[in-house]
C-alpha cells in the first residue's frame, strides 16, 4: 500500500511536531543482569545460558551490582535524580524467545528520574528533558528458518538463541520534545548522537547501533498550529542508525500530515521503519495492545542505593562530552563553527590526543582537518580509520618546529606514513627528506642557479624583484624542495645586489 505524503515544508507550515525517544542500551557488563552468564557478542547459540537466564522452573534472579552501577552513572550523566528506594516489576507478556514469559523491568518506580540532555542543532541549543532511566533484561533472539524473508510468516520452523536473554538493558525515556519546528528530525538525531557520545564516554556500553547494543523507538505526533491539543502519536520501533532516526521522523511528519489533511485520524500504533525506502509501515495497533499486568517483582528485594555510593559513582564519572567540548573550545581558541566542524569530522579525540603528544592545538587541528581529512575523503574512510596515529602527527609537527621539515616536505612524510613506510623519522630517513640548512651548500646552489638563468638574474638586477620567484623556484627544484625557500630568496636578492 503506497501512502501519499505531504511535502515536508508544507506539513511543517500547518503542524507542530511533538517527539519522544525511547532508547534501549545494552550495558557492557561482563555478566548478565540476573545471573553469572557471560555476555560476549556473537558466541555460538545457547552457549551462554544457565537455569536462571533460561527461566527454568525454580530458578531465581539475583541483581548484578555492576549493571546497577552502570545505570546510575548514566542517570547521573543525564542530570537525573537517583531515587532513594525503588523496586523491579514484572512485565507480563508471552513471547517465544522470552524465557519466563515475563520481563523483569521497572514500571512506576524507576531508578533515575527527571533529567535532561542539551543538544545543539545549527548553533541552537535544545534541552531534551529525560523522564526516566530504568533497568531491564533483554530477551533471546528468534531465527526463522525456511521462509523467503527470514520473518516468522512463511517459515518452516524457528530456532531460539538465548545468549542475549538476560543481558542488562537500560531504557532512557524522554519527556515530550516540543517546539522543535522544522528541526524536529535533526533534534531527534542530535539527541541520539549526543546520548551515544555520553554513554560511550562513561564507558558502560559500546553503544553500537549496528550490533543492536543501542536501539531507538521514535514517537511522533502532530498538533495543528495554533492548537494546544496534542495529536495521537505513533511509535516507530527499533530504528537502528542515526540517519534512519532523522528519516523516520521526517517520514512520520509527512505521513501523519497527509492523514490529518485528508480528514483522517492518526492511529495509535507501533510502526516499522524500512531502511531501503525511508518509510514506515503499520505494526500492531496499540488499541489492541496487551495489558502487561505489572506488579512488583517478588523474587527481588527492593533497591535502596545509598547516597554515599551514588556520590562515589558521581565522582567516578569522566569528563562528559559537552563539558569537554566547552573546555577544548576555550583551550584551542575555536569559533563555534570551527568546533562543530571538528566534532562532525570525528576529529576531536584525534586532535586532543595529538595535543597531548606535544603538538600545539593550531597545527594539530590544521593537519587533521585539512591534509588528513582530504586523504580520508579520497580513500572513502572515516578519519579515525586512517593508518596514522596522533603521536605520529605530533612528531611530524615537531620536525617542522625544529626546522628539519617545511610544510611541503611534511606532506611527503604524511604520504609516507599513510603508505605504511614507517614512523615519520623512518620516512624522513628513507626518502632523504631534510631541509637544506647548510648555508654554504645553499649559497653554492644559488650561484649555480644565477649562472644558469642569466636572463632572469638581469631582470632582478634591473629592479624587477618579482622575477626572483623564478630563481627561487629553480633553487627549490634543484634541492627537491628541501631548501628553505625564504632563505633562498634572501640569498638571491643579496647576491644580485637588490636587498
Amino acid at each position: 500500500m503506497s501512502t501519499t505524503l505531504v511535502p515536508y515544508e508544507e506539513a511543517l507550515a500547518r503542524y507542530e511536531p511533538v517527539l519522544g525517544v525511547e532508547t534501549h542500551i545494552e550495558l557492557g557488563t561482563a555478566s548478565k543482569m540476573f545471573c553469572g552468564c557471560p555476555t560476549t557478542f556473537g558466541a555460538p547459540p545457547n552457549t551462554q545460558v544457565c537455569p536462571v537466564c533460561l527461566g527454568l522452573p525454580g530458578a531465581l534472579p539475583v541483581t548484578n551490582r555492576a549493571a546497577i552501577e552502570g545505570i546510575i552513572k548514566i542517570g547521573l550523566a543525564l542530570n537525573c535524580t537517583i531515587v532513594e528506594w525503588c523496586r523491579f516489576a514484572r512485565k507480563n507478556y508471552f513471547y517465544p524467545d522470552m524465557p519466563k514469559n515475563f520481563q523483569i523491568s521497572q514500571y512506576d518506580e524507576p531508578l533515575c528520574v527527571d533529567g535532561y540532555l542539551d543538544v545543539e542543532v545549527d548553533g541552537e541549543t535544545f534541552r531534551v528533558e529525560i523522564e526516566r532511566v530504568h533497568m531491564e533484561e533483554d530477551t533471546g533472539k528468534s531465527l526463522h528458518v525456511g521462509g523467503a524473508t527470514g520473518r516468522i510468516h512463511g517459515a518452516d520452523f524457528s530456532l531460539v538463541d538465548y545468549n542475549r536473554a538476560g543481558i542488562p538493558l537500560v531504557e532512557i525515556v524522554t519527556k515530550p520534545i516540543v517546539a522543535t519546528g522544522d528541526k524536529a528530525p535533526l533534534v531527534a538525531r542530535a539527541y541520539a548522537t549526543e546520548l551515544r557520545e555520553l554513554v560511550r564516554a562513561i564507558g558502560v556500553s559500546d553503544v553500537r547501533m549496528e550490533e543492536g547494543s543501542m536501539r531507538c523507538d521514535i514517537n511522533v505526533s502532530l498538533m495543528p498550529r495554533g492548537s494546544s491539543e496534542w495529536g495521537t502519536r505513533t511509535e516507530t520501533k527499533n530504528v537502528n542508525s542515526l540517519r534512519s532516526i532523522e528519516r523516520a521522523v521526517r517520514h512520520e511528519i509527512e505521513r501523519q500530515a497527509a492523514v490529518l489533511d485528508s480528514g483522517g485520524k492518526v492511529v495509535q500504533e507501533t510502526r516499522h521503519f524500512h531502511e531501503d525506502t525511508g518509510t514506515t509501515t503499520s505494526g500492531r495497533s496499540k488499541e489492541e495492545a496487551q495489558d502487561y499486568r505489572y506488579f512488583p517483582e517478588p523474587d527481588l528485594v527492593p533497591m535502596a542505593p545509598s547516597r554515599e555510593w551514588v556520590e562515589e559513582l558521581r565522582a567516578s564519572l569522566p569528563e562528559l562530552p559537552a563539558a569537554r567540548r566547552r573546555r577544548v573550545q576555550a583551550e584551542w581558541g575555536l569559533t563555534d563553527l570551527e568546533l562543530r566542524d571538528v566534532v562532525n569530522a570525528g576529529a576531536l579525540d584525534l586532535i586532543e590526543d595529538t595535543v597531548k603528544a606535544g603538538c600545539a592545538p593550531g597545527p594539530a587541528r590544521k593537519w587533521w582537518m585539512n591534509e588528513l581529512s582530504r586523504r580520508a575523503t579520497e580513500q572513502g574512510v572515516e578519519l579515525p580509520e586512517l593508518p596514522i596515529t596522533p603521536e605520529q602527527v605530533a612528531r611530524i609537527q615537531a620536525l617542522i618546529d625544529e626546522g628539519s621539515l617545511n610544510d611541503k616536505l611534511a606532506r611527503q612524510v604524511f604520504e609516507g606514513v599513510l603508505a605504511g613506510e614507517g614512523d615519520p623519522d623512518q620516512v624522513v630517513a628513507a626518502r632523504g627528506l631534510k631541509v637544506v640548512s647548510d648555508e654554504g651548500e645553499l649559497a653554492a646552489i644559488v650561484d649555480q642557479v644565477i649562472a644558469d638563468n642569466a636572463a632572469a638574474a638581469d631582470k632582478v638586477r634591473s629592479g624587477k624583484v618579482a622575477a626572483a620567484g623564478a630563481l627561487v623556484g629553480a633553487v627549490m627544484k634543484a634541492t627537491r624542495g628541501q631548501a628553505d625557500a625564504a632563505r633562498a630568496r634572501e640569498l638571491i636578492l643579496e647576491k644580485l645586489g637588490v636587498s
Partner: protein, 503 residues
C-alpha cells in the same frame, strides 16, 4: 530389625548410623521396603528409585568409612516434595505439564541436604503447583491419609506428610505458601514448620507465589524437624530474598523444651465459630497444658486476620499467574499440537489447556484478572494493604506476648472428594495458617490430640516473630513432651490404619 528401623526418629537413626550399629544402606533399604509394603495404599510417592537411593546411601557409608566428617543427619533418608528440583530424579510439581521433566540442577535445599549426607528416598505427591489443601489436585491422583485412607492427608505437601506419618520416611521437605506444611502436618498427626520467609532458600523450588512460598521440614518429632530445619537453612546467595543472618538456634530450643515464664497469646480471631468442636476442645486443653507448664497465657486480638484469606486469594493467584507463564511448551515439558501447521501461540494454548488442571487454571484466571489494569488497585493493591495491616497486627501482638497460638486447622482431615467441587470450602482449611505467610514470620504445627467426633489428629499452631524460629520449637517441644507423657508415647501410635498395615 527392618520394620523397627522405620519407627525410629531421624535423631535416633543418625546416632545408630554414626555409631556404626547400622549402615545407611540398611536404613535406606528398610524404608524402601516399607514404601513397597504400604505406598500402594497411601500413594505418597510420585517417584522412588531404589537404585539411586541405595547408591547415595552407599556413598555415605563410604564417606564415613573414609573418616570424613559428616553432618548430624548423615545417612538418614529424606523424601522431597516434588516441587524441589533434583538433578537425578524427575520433578513435576504434581503437574502433567512437567511430567517426566528432569531438571539439570539441584535446588539449594536438595543440594545442601545431599552434601550433608541425607539420602533422597523419593519425590512426594502434591497438589499441582502447590495449589490446594488436600493433594487431590495432583495430576497423578490423590494421596491418602495414613490415619484413615478415605481422608485427605492435607495439602499441598500431602505426599510428604503422609510419607512421614506412614513411616515411609523419617523426614520430608515441604513448602508452605498458605499453610501447605502446617495443615498437612496437623491432619496427619506429625510436626511441620514454616520457617521465617527468607530463612530457607527458594532457589530450585518451582514457584507458586514467590512472596509467600517457604520451604520447611516435616518430621515425627519436634527435635527431628529442628535438625532438618538447621540442616538446610542459612543464607543463599542464589536467592535475593534469602536473609543474610545466622540461623536461629532451633535445635537447642527443641532440646530445651520449656515454657516457664514465656508469654503466650491466644489469637481471638482464630477459634470459636467455624472451628470443629473436637478441634477447639483439644486446642483449649493444649493451652491449659502450656499454662500448667508455667507459661503466661493471655488472649490477644488481631482484628485484620479476618481479611487474611481474601487477601491471600488475590496475592497468591496474582503471583502464580505470572510464575506459571513460563510453562508454555517452548523449552521443556509437555507440548501439544506441534504438527507443523500450528503457530507457536496455538501450541502454547493447547499445551496449557491440556497440561494444567482446573485449580491451576482457576488461579491463573483469578490472578490475571486481579493484576489487569483497571482492577489492579481494587484487588492486588488492596490485598497488599491488607497484608500490611496483618503485619501490624502481628507486631502489636508480639509487643505483648512472645508467641501466638491457635488451632492449625479449623477441622480435622475431611473425606476425599468432599470439597473438590467447592473451592471456597477448600480454601477455609488454611484460615489459621495464612496470616503467618502474609507476614512472613515463623510458625509450627505439633500434634495435640485426637478430635473426639472422628478420632483424627488435631494440630496446635505456634507462631513467632520473624527470625524467632527457635521460639516455636521451644513451645512445640514442651507440648510434645508433656502430651507424650500423658499418652504414653507418640500420637501416631494410635493411628488405626497403620496398625492394620503392620499386621
Amino acid at each position: 530389625m527392618s520394620s523397627e528401623l522405620t519407627r525410629r526418629t531421624a535423631a535416633e537413626l543418625a546416632e545408630l548410623i554414626a555409631s556404626g550399629q547400622v549402615s545407611a544402606v540398611e536404613v535406606a533399604q528398610a524404608h524402601l521396603d516399607r514404601i513397597t509394603a504400604v505406598d500402594g495404599r497411601i500413594k505418597a510417592f510420585l517417584h522412588v528409585d531404589a537404585e539411586t537411593a541405595l547408591a547415595q546411601a552407599r556413598a555415605v557409608d563410604e564417606r564415613r568409612a573414609a573418616g570424613e566428617r559428616l553432618g548430624p543427619l548423615a545417612g538418614v533418608p529424606i523424601a522431597h516434595k516434588d516441587v524441589f528440583t533434583t538433578a537425578d530424579m524427575p520433578t513435576t510439581a504434581g503437574s502433567k505439564i512437567l511430567e517426566g521433566w528432569r531438571p539439570p540442577y539441584d535446588a539449594t535445599i536438595t543440594r545442601r541436604l545431599r552434601e550433608a549426607g541425607l539420602v533422597i528416598i523419593g519425590k512426594t505427591n502434591m497438589d499441582e503447583f502447590a495449589m490446594g489443601s488436600s493433594t487431590e489436585n495432583s495430576a497423578f491422583g490423590p494421596t491418602r491419609n495414613p490415619w484413615n485412607l478415605d481422608r485427605i492427608p492435607g495439602g499441598s505437601s500431602g505426599g510428604s506428610s503422609a510419607a512421614v506419618a506412614a513411616y515411609e520416611a523419617p523426614l520430608a521437605t515441604g513448602t508452605d505458601t498458605g499453610g501447605s506444611i502446617r495443615q498437612p502436618a496437623a491432619v496427619t498427626g506429625i510436626v511441620g514448620t514454616k520457617p521465617t520467609y527468607g530463612g530457607s532458600s527458594r532457589y530450585g523450588l518451582i514457584a507458586f507465589a514467590s512472596s509467600l512460598d517457604t520451604p520447611g521440614p516435616f518430621a515425627r518429632t519436634v527435635l527431628d524437624a529442628a535438625l532438618l530445619h538447621e540442616a538446610f537453612s542459612g543464607h543463599d546467595p542464589m536467592d535475593s530474598t534469602s536473609i543474610d543472618r545466622p540461623v536461629p538456634p532451633v535445635v537447642e530450643a527443641a532440646r530445651r523444651a520449656d515454657v516457664a515464664g514465656l508469654r503466650i497469646g491466644v489469637v481471638r480471631e482464630l477459634g470459636g465459630e467455624g472451628f470443629q468442636p473436637g478441634v477447639q476442645a483439644r486446642f483449649n486443653e493444649a493451652v491449659e497444658l502450656l499454662e500448667s507448664l508455667g507459661a503466661k497465657v493471655t488472649e490477644v486480638s488481631c482484628p485484620h486476620f479476618t481479611y487474611a484469606l481474601p487477601a491471600y486469594y488475590l496475592i497468591a493467584p496474582s503471583e502464580c499467574s505470572s510464575n506459571l507463564a513460563r510453562f508454555d511448551a517452548m523449552r521443556y515439558g509437555l507440548r501439544i499440537g506441534d504438527d507443523g501447521a500450528r503457530s507457536a501461540e496455538e501450541v502454547m494454548a493447547l499445551t496449557r489447556a491440556e497440561g494444567f488442571g482446573p485449580e491451576v487454571k482457576r488461579r491463573i484466571m483469578l490472578g490475571t484478572y486481579a493484576l489487569s489494569s483497571g482492577y489492579y488497585d481494587a484487588y492486588y493493591g488492596k490485598a497488599q494493604q491488607v497484608r500490611t495491616l496483618i503485619i501490624r497486627d502481628f507486631e502489636a501482638a508480639f509487643e505483648q506476648v512472645d508467641v501466638l497460638v491457635s488451632p492449625t486447622t479449623p477441622t480435622t482431615a475431611f473425606p476425599i472428594g468432599d470439597r473438590v467441587d467447592d473451592p471456597m470450602a477448600m480454601y477455609l482449611a488454611d484460615l489459621a495458617t495464612i496470616p503467618s505467610n502474609l507476614a512472613g514470620n515463623a510458625a509450627i504445627s505439633v500434634p495435640c490430640g485426637l478430635a473426639e467426633e472422628d478420632g483424627l489428629p488435631v494440630g496446635l499452631q505456634v507462631m513467632a516473630p520473624t527470625l524467632a524460629d527457635d521460639r516455636v520449637y521451644r513451645v512445640g517441644a514442651a507440648v510434645e513432651k508433656a502430651l507424650e507423657d500423658r499418652w504414653g508415647g507418640p500420637l501416631l501410635a494410635k493411628a488405626p490404619e497403620l496398625a492394620e498395615a503392620d499386621r
